[in-house]
């Protein structure tokens, strides 16, 4: 990274309408999914009177299934050479699940609906990010991802608010929340189907020839399974995967951070439902600036800087000072972490992946990140119960402080490869 100069490309930034539309699709879909997610626990326990404990188990299984589906969908999208139909299938499945919410009253029907929704999300993510990556100017890749993530998070922040306002006006009006959610899901699918063009997932003649050469090399050795292994033996992507797994293992779920904030004062208890919305607002405000920084100074650096913000957030959550200021600071740091890592990781991964394996590459990196974060939350839960919130935060924070320089070394080569690509 030492040799990496801040480069100003000659090409001017031009926002691709495709990305704008994908952003609108994600915004509508997030309004749809987050409005239901916000009220689901209330609905299950307060209204249906179902056992939440068993529901937690189902949810855990779903997370694993969704992660595996994500790689498979990425792979299918690359095989087809057309990400849009695969993404559409994912959005469509989630739309069907929204219809299911209107009729599901029992445990199994609700579990099936939630599973369908999760799998839909798993299917759509990687091909959609491949579409973004293909449509964006390579020089401004992270900034384009930033635009998409901003729109996406407008939906994620608005969804819970819409749901709570609905329940405020119509007490017990869960049916109305489900109908509103279905409407936004339908708008998302319609916008994707009608306005986003279907295109082949190869970026430019230059990179496509590079891809074909890589392709021949891989196919020559035969066997579809081999593709994955060769992909990750490429030094850049392999390194990114290693660093993502390492850092993901030290990223505790934001639920724990909210609980730690609640643990030290009543302030956060009272404002609990808005902690998530607050984090998303920071995320959406910083998504584009972080993308610009990543394009200019290197995606690896911004990715690591995001984890530095996470480290600061752990410290902030561990300090026994409550109240408005510290709580807001924690949320700002957490939002900054997501803004600096989420879209930037997808941009970095697509930069390091040959064009015809784009969705597979992005999907795999995201899956590795997601699975290591699930593992991290499980381990962190143990620490939490053994030593209490503050001490657990300090332990994970210290490990992260050690892992950051290590990741810097690991990613340095990856960034050099990306710069020369």
């Amino acid at each position: 990274m030492a040799v990496d100069k801040a480069h100003r490309p000659a090409v001017r930034f031009r926002l691709s309408p495709v990305i704008l539309w994908l952003g609108v699709v994600s915004m509508a879909t997030d309004i749809s999914s987050e409005s239901v997610a916000a009220i689901l626990p209330l609905y299950i326990t307060g209204f249906l009177g179902l056992s939440v404990i068993a529901f937690g188990i189902i949810d855990g299984i779903n997370q694993g299934a969704s992660a595996l589906v994500r790689i498979a969908a990425g792979w299918a999208s690359d095989r087809l050479g057309r990400p849009k139909p695969v993404a559409l299938a994912g959005y469509g499945l989630s739309l069907l699940a929204r219809v299911g919410f209107l009729f599901a009253g029992g445990f199994w029907s609700l579990a099936a609906v939630v599973t369908g929704d999760r799998i839909g999300k798993g299917i759509r993510t990687a091909p959609r990010d491949a579409l973004i990556s293909t449509a964006a100017q390579p020089e401004y890749l992270a900034r384009h991802f930033g635009v998409h993530r901003m729109l996406d998070n407008i939906g994620a922040a608005a969804g819970p608010l819409i749901a709570f306002v609905t329940l405020f006006l119509i007490p017990g009006g869960y049916g109305t929340v489900f109908v509103v959610s279905l409407a936004f899901a339908a708008i998302g699918v319609a916008a994707l189907a009608l306005v986003v063009p279907d295109r082949r997932s190869v970026r430019s003649p230059r990179s496509s020839s590079r891809g074909r050469e890589f392709d021949n090399q891989v196919r020559g050795r035969g066997g579809l399974l081999r593709i994955h292994w060769h992909l990750f033996r490429k030094p850049g992507l392999g390194r990114l995967l290693t660093a993502s797994a390492l850092l993901g293992l030290l990223t505790v779920g934001d639920g724990f951070i909210y609980l730690a904030l609640q643990d030290r004062d009543d302030f956060a208890v009272h404002w609990f439902p808005l902690l998530y919305v607050g984090t998303n607002v920071v995320f959406l405000l910083l998504a584009i600036p972080m993308g610009r920084l990543a394009d200019r100074y290197g995606r690896g650096k911004v990715f690591l800087a995001g984890h530095l913000a996470l480290l600061a957030c752990y410290c902030c959550a561990a300090v026994p000072v409550g109240g408005l200021g510290p709580t807001l600071l924690c949320l700002t740091l957490l939002g900054a972490f997501y803004a600096a890592t989420d879209g930037v990781l997808a941009a970095f991964a697509s930069q390091l992946t040959p064009p015809d394996l784009l969705a597979t590459g992005i999907g795999t990196v995201q899956t590795v990140m997601a699975l290591s974060r699930v593992a991290s939350s499980t381990l962190f839960g143990l620490l939490w119960f053994t030593w209490g919130p503050a001490a657990a935060m300090v332990v994970v924070g210290s490990l992260l402080a050690v892992a950051l320089p290590a990741s810097f070394v690991i990613l340095r080569k990856a960034e050099r490869q990306a710069a020369s690509a």
Binding site: P17, A37, G56, F164, L167, I170, V179, F385
Partner: protein, 346 residues
């Protein structure tokens, strides 16, 4: 750049606009009609007989519950005389998701809907004057008051916010209302099973029942790794000692000799809870003749019979309270219609 959008672009745009307009109009209409239906139903006279005067807890023996009859007063705490449970009900002064009284005071767990949906516990005097309240960390599930009104136990579902995914767990706190001891989270108590301390991270404690006229002792459910125990708790020693297997949501009889609870007899992920009674002296377990699954903390009406709530089939948000004699082979009968969360004040 976007050839796909220009070729036949206008038609696609018109279709998209039409789809958007149609679904938003549809959802809007649905919301307006739901709003109107609710206005009509909540302005309507209660669907059960109500004594309008009162609003003070009865002086004699009574049953306090959450009224779930459609119309005015839906979700309000209400009472009926123990002598005439099917008779007219007196509406109380608070909306509660779970409510409990031991005579002198009322504990009420409620949801404050709004942009900030939050959860709250409040203590009321017999005239429904609010004495005290505090924020809860999750969705109300169970609550109990000790007989002398000095201790209150609350169990909530902490979701870690649904966004965070998997972290469904319960949080149970015992709080002293006279302010003599600080609130205690039962997860911080030492859980002892066969003399060994269980430190697994997935420990969950819920459903406290206070032992009559013993200030320090209570019973509760503890769970870890899919196993459930009846635990006997000591506030002073901060311990939970497992004394029996497979007991959920215990409730001790007024004479302190037996525990009524729900026993999971279902296979697989869906639980099927049967009502059962455990004799503390002999360890004999008696499963009662209720065939429907009970997800409630059972309440003793007297030393011979039990009360519990069951949702009404086909009517989401409505439920009834049932009574069953606490002996083998007994069968349930309807006790209070359109009601939930019973508690009995002697």
């Amino acid at each position: 750049m976007i050839q796909g959008a220009t070729g036949g672009g206008r038609l696609r745009w018109i279709v998209l606009l039409m789809v958007t307009g149609l679904v938003l109009a549809g959802a809007g209409l649905y919301a307006v009609s739901a709003f109107q239906r609710l206005q009509e139903s909540s302005a309507a006279a209660p669907s059960v007989e109500v004594i309008s005067e009162g609003k003070v807890l009865p002086s004699g023996s009574f049953v306090l519950f959450r009224n779930t009859a459609a119309g005015q007063g839906y979700g309000m705490a209400a009472t009926v005389s123990s002598a005439d449970p099917a008779g007219p009900r007196t509406m109380g002064g608070a909306f509660c998701d779970r409510v409990y009284s031991a005579g002198s005071k009322v504990i009420c767990l409620s949801t404050n809907r709004g942009l900030l949906t939050s959860f709250e516990a409040s203590v009321y005097a017999p005239d429904w004057k609010r004495l005290e309240s505090w924020a809860l960390r999750g969705i109300p599930s169970r609550t109990r008051l000790s007989g002398d009104g000095a201790l209150v136990a609350t169990t909530v579902f902490v979701t870690g916010h649904s966004y965070a995914g998997t972290g469904f767990s319960t949080e149970t706190v015992i709080r002293s209302l006279d302010g003599t001891t600080p609130a205690a989270n039962l997860e911080a108590f030492a859980l002892l099973v066969n003399g060994q301390q269980v430190t697994a991270a997935d420990r969950n404690i819920w459903g406290v029942t206070f032992v009559p006229s013993q200030a320090d002792v209570f019973y509760a459910t503890a769970a870890s790794s899919g196993r459930h125990w009846l635990v006997r708790g000591s506030i002073a020693n901060r311990t939970l000692t497992a004394i029996h297997d497979g007991v959920e949501c215990p409730s001790i009889s007024p004479d302190g000799t037996r525990i009524a609870y729900k026993k999971n007899t279902g296979a697989g992920l869906i639980p099927h809870w049967k009502a059962a009674v455990l004799d503390l002296a002999t360890g004999t377990e008696t499963v009662l003749g209720e065939t429907r699954s009970i997800d409630d903390q059972i309440e003793w009406l007297d030393n011979a019979s039990l009360l519990y709530g069951l949702p009404r089939t086909g009517e989401a948000g409505d439920s009834d309270i049932w009574r069953i004699p606490a002996r083998a082979g007994s069968s349930p009968e309807l006790y209070i219609e359109h009601a939930w969360s019973p508690s009995v004040a002697p």
